[in-house]
C-alpha cells in the first residue's frame, strides 16, 4: 500500500521533530541548573541526532508499481538500474539515532553560591538561549512542513476516493 508511504514518512518526521522539541524544552528549562538528577555536575545540554532510516517495504512497492505497467515479454528497459535503486533504498523516513549530552560548561564566578567549587566558580551548563530558540524555530518549521506533506497526501488520496462516487 505505497499510497500511504508519504504519510508514514512524514509521520516519522513529525515524531523526530517532537523529540527535538523535547530536548530544546529541556535545555531551556535547565539553562541554569547547576545540579543534574544524578548529582554529577551541572545539567548537560541535550542534542538530538537524526538519521535517515530506510523503509524496506518501499523498494518492493516501487518495483511492483514499475512492473505492473509492463507485460512479461517487454522486460527490457529499466532492468539493472532498477535493482540498483531498490538495493540502495532511496526513500527514507527519519529516525532519532540518539540523544547526546554536551559536557561543556560555563564557569561563572559566584563564591556565595552553594554549588560553587573551591575557587568560587559555579559550573553552569553551556546552554545558549539564543541558539536554542533558533533551533526551536527550525524544529517547529520542520514540523509544519511534515504536517503539510500529510495534508497534501491526504487530499490526493481523497481525490482518488472521489472517483468511486457515482
Amino acid at each position: 500500500m505505497y499510497d500511504l508511504f508519504p504519510i508514514e514518512i512524514a509521520s516519522s518526521g513529525l515524531s523526530a521533530q517532537r523529540v527535538r522539541m523535547g530536548a530544546i524544552a529541556s535545555n531551556l528549562a535547565n539553562a541554569n541548573s547547576t545540579r543534574s538528577a544524578d548529582g554529577a555536575g551541572p545539567y548537560r545540554r541535550r542534542m538530538v541526532r537524526l538519521q535517515a532510516g530506510t523503509l524496506p517495504a518501499f523498494g518492493q512497492a516501487f518495483a511492483d508499481a514499475l512492473a505492473s505497467g509492463r507485460a512479461a515479454e517487454a522486460s527490457s528497459g529499466l532492468g539493472g538500474e532498477r535493482s540498483r535503486w531498490l538495493a540502495e533504498g532511496h526513500v527514507r523516513g527519519v529516525q532519532v539515532l540518539g540523544i547526546e549530552q554536551d559536557s561543556s560548561e560555563r564557569l561563572v564566578y559566584e563564591p556565595q553560591h552553594p554549588d560553587a567549587d573551591a575557587k568560587g566558580y559555579v559550573h553552569y551548563p553551556d546552554v545558549s538561549v539564543i541558539s536554542e530558540m533558533t533551533d526551536m524555530m527550525m524544529a517547529s518549521r520542520s514540523y509544519e512542513a511534515n504536517l503539510a506533506v500529510i495534508k497534501n497526501t491526504r487530499d490526493m488520496l481523497n481525490q482518488m476516493l472521489e472517483l468511486l462516487k457515482a
Binding site: D3, I9, G77, W85, R141, S142, V149, Q159
Partner: protein, 152 residues
C-alpha cells in the same frame, strides 16, 4: 472485455496517478530529512519514467494484438510524430539526485531546500488532481453509456 472498456488512455492515466503517488513518497522523504546531516535529496524523474512505462505498454500491446497501433496519419513529411512516447528516445528514467552543485551547501552537508521541496510537492499534487479529474470524466462517460443502455 475490460481491455475494451478501459482503453489505453485509462491505463496510461492510472499509471500516471501511480507514479505521482510514488513521487509524493520521494518528496515526503526529502521534507522528513530536511535536517538530517549528509542526506541527499531525491526525486523521481516523472517524465522519463512515464515515457518508459508508456513505451513498454505500447510494445506489449503491439505484441499481443495483430491490430496496427493507433497512430496519427502523416500527410506531410514535416508533420510532427508521436515518437516521444515510445520511450526509446528518452533516457531510462528513475531517481534523480540533487545536482552536484547544490549538494552539500549547508553546514550539515544537506542540500535539501525546504521551500523547493514544498513547491514540488504542491506541483505534484496539482498534477495528480488533474489526472484524477480526467479519470473522473472518463469514468463519467462510461457511466453515461451504461445508463443509456439500461434505459433503452
Amino acid at each position: 472485455m475490460f481491455d475494451r472498456l478501459f482503453d489505453s488512455t485509462s491505463r496510461i492515466l492510472a499509471k500516471g496517478l501511480e507514479l505521482r503517488t510514488l513521487r509524493q513518497s520521494f518528496l515526503a522523504s526529502n521534507v522528513a530529512n530536511a535536517e538530517t546531516p549528509n542526506y541527499r535529496p531525491v526525486d523521481l524523474d516523472f517524465r522519463a519514467t512515464m515515457a518508459n512505462l508508456v513505451g513498454e505498454m505500447h510494445r506489449a500491446d503491439a505484441a499481443q494484438t495483430t491490430q496496427a497501433p493507433l497512430e496519427l496519419a502523416r500527410t506531410d513529411s514535416r508533420h510532427l510524430g508521436a515518437e516521444a512516447l515510445d520511450g526509446a528516445t528518452l533516457s531510462q528514467g528513475g531517481i534523480v539526485f540533487a545536482a552536484g552543485d547544490d549538494y552539500g551547501t549547508g553546514n550539515d552537508s544537506n542540500a535539501t531546500s525546504l521551500e523547493e521541496q514544498m513547491g514540488r510537492l504542491q506541483m505534484n499534487s496539482i498534477q495528480h488532481a488533474a489526472l484524477t479529474r480526467i479519470m473522473a470524466q472518463r469514468l463519467g462517460a462510461l457511466r453515461n453509456i451504461l445508463e443509456s443502455t439500461a434505459r433503452s
